[in-house]
Symmetry: C2
Subunit: 155 residues, 2 copies
């Protein structure tokens, strides 16, 4: 993986914990890693949706998918959002809007809520109650959408 255009990570991390020891990621790698995390979450969100809509609901599969979403949410994603990474190409051109760096309070509120909803999803999924899972899946989806609506460019 190429590691050109290295950026010093500023101390302010938007959400999650910073992997301070790994501060020397290139801008391109940051974008690639976060695109990977979100894409892999999308697969797992899709799996949960399919379980809820299908005729063979399997609580263990839902729990496995919810574990992914919670683990990614708690992985310190903030370290992948260094200033300047609203432009640049990981797997593809980033869709992050510059507003992300201008509205830190809103980012923090949205990011914190996302982590909370993901953690709740993991707990509810472990319980195995389909109706509760469906309700929390809706809340989690809203938390995802809040960030998309505010900070992600349309394709």
């Amino acid at each position: 993986m190429k590691s050109t255009a290295r950026l010093a990570l500023v101390a302010a991390v938007v959400w999650g914990t910073a992997a301070a020891a790994q501060a020397q990621l290139s801008k391109e790698d940051m974008i690639k890693y976060r695109q990977s995390g979100y894409t892999f979450m999308a697969w797992n969100m899709g799996k949960i949706k399919a379980e809820l809509e299908g005729s063979n609901f399997d609580a263990a599969r839902v729990a496995a998918s919810a574990n992914v979403v919670a683990a990614v949410a708690n992985s310190g994603l903030g370290a992948l959002f260094a200033p300047g990474t609203d432009t640049g190409k990981g797997w593809k051109e980033t869709r992050l809007k510059p507003e992300f760096f201008r509205e830190p309070d809103k980012v923090r509120q949205i990011g914190t809520n996302f982590v909370q909803q993901a953690n709740r999803m993991q707990q509810v999924a472990a319980g195995g109650d389909k109706a509760a899972i469906a309700a929390q899946f809706g809340e989690l989806g809203k938390a995802c959408k809040a960030c998309h609506d505010n900070f992600r460019r349309e394709e």
Copy 2:
């Protein structure tokens, strides 16, 4: 995300559980999702390595990274390895070797060991003992490498 070239998933899933209800992923999406999962794991493996080599070892950060690796390992990745997906492009051309589909026993053994080592890594990381974490990180790395050596093309 494009969903052309749809493949029917065969019942035989290499490791993990199949998300049967979501069997209609395109070959391209399968490759993209697994590339995303492995790339996001790579970031988290790198974070663990950096913690072990740095001067500010933080057990909570290691645990967060280990949770990602374990969750991805247990997410039913086998469903993303339908026959024929040793060619095709997700984010980039797949590096999966055709041997993957010719040696199911070896794939199962390597895949099962990977899941076991990832689960053990998660447990050990939760314990917070740096020496134990370093030892298990080595075992986990070997489990990853076994698959790379056998079933991943060189770039």
